[in-house]
């Protein structure tokens, strides 16, 4: 019998409690008072951080799911198999929080299912919605064995796992395709804003750029999550896996940057690189955080050898990635819209709540499901073990005969 106890009060629990309290209050404001009270959105700035941060970054940072699942299941990179499930769970929770976030973001959230029955094939957003719905389902299916394993019915369990094993490869393949499509089309949303976006962020190839930036950011996210799991959840994995992942991040960032500058040249926007305006500072800040600092850090042997070094290098990469996506979705439009948008606190509170919920859900699944290999804390024995003679194995069969 376990008695229910008041949970221990720790700093982190207090912080989580405060985040959820603020999120709950923000939710009340959003649904009882409306956008005008809960947000700084306006006719000039109809999309704020619920799109720029919660959706664009949420989806982008979940890109580790399809890359690592693809590497393990399709390309046979067996040494990453121990973390494949974790990457899938991270992606699944990321997408789930993005989808749930639409309850706050949409003006008429109860109509969320409309794109599934009212089609407009010309709309990039329509394609994105379909891909995200399908891919979240695929992720749920990829992740489902972790839950089914825990079911008490043996027959169901075995039949399900048998069936799942047969379709897994197809699921992963479809998952990689769906991801590649909507990771790109998230950028495709911005192609039609021609003339409104500042030239440093407008591109006809925004699709390719979004795809190229999501992969390193998604992998950096997996590095962070794995490091934290090792640090605080007794997870034991080969730390060289993190190092291997970091070897992919840096070259991807280089590819992204080269493509970006080539694209700026093609759009005749190189002249904007050094204009004395505020956008220039944002652009170079982004270059520093998303490209320069991560490249230096990921190439320092001291950083590469230490897991915490990789953790911080990934954190900087993610910060840069977030800045890049916020620049594309918000900063780039400021000059045309003159909106002067700064998010109101409920917008931040809702986003923080969703992120925190995803982190807690990840923690729960690592602790209670078979996501990552863990060492278990064995309780101290309550009785004295009897002294036993040790078994001595003969050195080799021949020796025993003599």
């Amino acid at each position: 019998m376990t008695r229910w106890r008041i949970p221990e009060i720790t700093l982190w629990r207090v912080i989580v409690g405060l985040i959820f309290a603020a999120g709950a209050w923000a939710t009340y404001l959003r649904f009882a008072k409306g956008f005008q009270v809960a947000t700084n959105l306006s006719n000039a700035q109809p999309w704020g951080i619920w799109v720029g941060l919660a959706t664009l970054c949420g989806v982008g940072l979940s890109a580790g799911g399809f890359t690592i699942a693809g590497a393990v299941y399709l390309l046979g990179m067996e040494r990453y198999r121990p973390v494949a499930r974790a990457a899938v769970v991270i992606a699944f929770l990321g997408y789930l929080s993005v989808v749930l976030g639409y309850a706050w973001e949409l003006g008429l959230p109860w109509n969320f299912w409309h794109p599934l029955v009212m089609w407009n094939r010309a709309s990039v957003l329509f394609e994105v919605v379909w891909c995200i719905v399908l891919y979240t389902t695929v992720l749920a299916l990829e992740f489902s064995p972790a839950v089914v394993e825990k079911l008490p019915w043996k027959g169901v369990r075995e039949r399900f796992l048998h069936w799942h094993h047969r379709v897994l490869i197809a699921l992963v393949l479809v998952g990689v395709l769906l991801s590649s499509l909507h990771q790109s089309y998230l950028g495709g949303l911005f192609i039609i804003f021609k003339g409104k976006m500042y030239p440093l962020w407008y591109s006809n190839y925004q699709t390719t750029l979004f795809y190229m930036s999501a992969i390193p950011a998604g992998i950096a996210m997996v590095i962070m999550a794995l490091y934290l799991s090792v640090r605080s959840l007794n997870v034991r994995i080969d730390m060289r896996i993190l190092d291997d992942f970091s070897r992919i991040v840096a070259p991807m960032l280089v590819v992204f940057t080269l493509f970006r500058f080539a694209d700026l040249a093609k759009q005749h926007a190189l002249g904007y690189l050094f204009k004395p305006v505020i956008e220039t500072a944002y652009f170079w800040g982004e270059m520093l955080l998303f490209v320069a600092v991560p490249l230096v850090l990921f190439n320092l042997p001291q950083v590469r050898r230490s897991p915490i070094g990789l953790y911080w290098a990934s954190a900087v990469t993610i910060a840069g990635f977030v800045m890049h996506r916020l620049d594309v979705s918000i900063t780039s439009l400021e000059r045309a819209t003159q909106a002067g948008y700064v998010p109101k606190w409920p917008e931040l509170a809702v986003t923080m709540m969703l992120v925190t919920a995803a982190v807690l859900a990840f923690r729960w699944s690592v602790l209670h499901l078979k996501i990552l290999p863990r060492t278990l804390e064995v309780p101290a024995p309550t009785f004295q073990l009897p002294r036993t003679t040790a078994y001595v194995f003969p050195a080799h069969p021949g020796a025993a005969v003599n």
Binding site: F31, A32, K33, G34, F35, Q36, L41, S42, N43, A44, P46, W47, G70, Y73, L74, L75, G76, E105, L106, G107, L108, P109, N111, F112, H114, P115, M118, W119, N120, R121, A122, S123, V124, L125, F126, E127, V129, I169, L173, V176, L177, S180, L181, S184, Y185, G188, L189, I191, I192, F193, K194, G195, K196, N204, T207, L333, A336, T337
Partner: protein
């Protein structure tokens, strides 16, 4: 019914704002004047120097708003108006950003908010009437009629009066053309008109991006399947080779043992 349109001649407008008021009456909005477009002011008359410029939905021939809407809540009708169906809308507000003229407004203060924009009095037009703003204009600065006729009329005015700028804003240079035309004797840029980002309709940009989808799926899908087959096969071969090697070694051991015994 032929495609309808409106022609707004800035040289004629006297800034009486009768169009604003008529619009508000038709849409049952509170009647007080608002300086800029809002969810309750679907057209406004803005002062630019000594000129008066009406702002309203341009009713594009190939509207970006209709193209970006994921549920097809916005539609270009054959009669000319671009209309909005609130029953379909999910409130994503992509139309507001997609519109090159930044016209659609949102009911930010409402708990059940909808998009609001000029609907070119679609119901009245279907019933064979004029738009409310054109009907009420005392000086004929806004006139309503068949699109072709109005284009001809605008060209005639430019031909006959050299003070006009030689351009019909909204005819075709502006993202594929619209169903609202402006004539002016001052360059449009000076009156705060949006400089159109391209002459082709904007939806062509999304189309180009979406057109790549089948290629990505086909090539990506076959590439992945091929890679999977390849790695799978390699693993099988490696496993078979390892087995063979193990068998050979076992045989060697046996042979060695036999040799020793004999």
């Amino acid at each position: 019914m032929k495609t309808k349109a409106m022609l707004i001649d800035i040289t004629k407008c006297i800034g009486c704002r009768a169009c604003e008021q008529a619009c508000k009456e038709v849409h049952h909005f509170p009647l007080e004047h608002e300086p800029v477009l809002s969810a309750t002011a679907l057209t406004v008359v803005e002062e630019r120097g000594d000129k008066f410029v009406r702002r309203l939905c341009m009713h594009c021939q190939e509207p970006a708003c209709a193209s970006v809407c994921p549920v097809g809540a916005l539609k270009k009708t054959a009669a000319g108006p671009v209309v909005y169906d609130g029953k379909k809308c999910i409130g994503c507000r992509y139309c507001m950003l997609g519109c090159p003229y930044s016209v659609p407004r949102y009911e930010w203060s409402k708990l059940v908010p909808y998009v609001k924009k000029c609907d070119m009095c679609a119901e009245r037009v279907m019933a064979g009437k004029q738009t409310a703003c054109a009907e009420v204009c005392p000086v004929g600065a806004t006139i309503f009629g068949d699109r072709d006729d109005l284009l001809e009329e605008a060209q005639k005015r430019i031909r006959e009066n050299p003070t006009y700028v030689n351009r019909i804003y909204g005819s075709e240079e502006e993202v594929g053309g619209a169903s609202v035309f402006f004539l002016s004797d001052v360059p449009f840029e000076k009156l705060g008109f949006v400089k159109p980002p391209q002459t082709l309709p904007l939806p062509s940009l999304s189309e180009a991006a979406l057109g790549e989808m089948p290629t990505v799926v086909m090539i990506g899908g076959s590439l992945l399947a091929a890679l999977y087959w390849f790695t799978q096969r390699r693993q099988q071969v490696m496993a078979a080779e390892a087995e063979e090697k193990a068998e050979k070694e076992a045989k060697n051991v046996l042979r060695f043992r036999d040799k020793e015994r004999s």
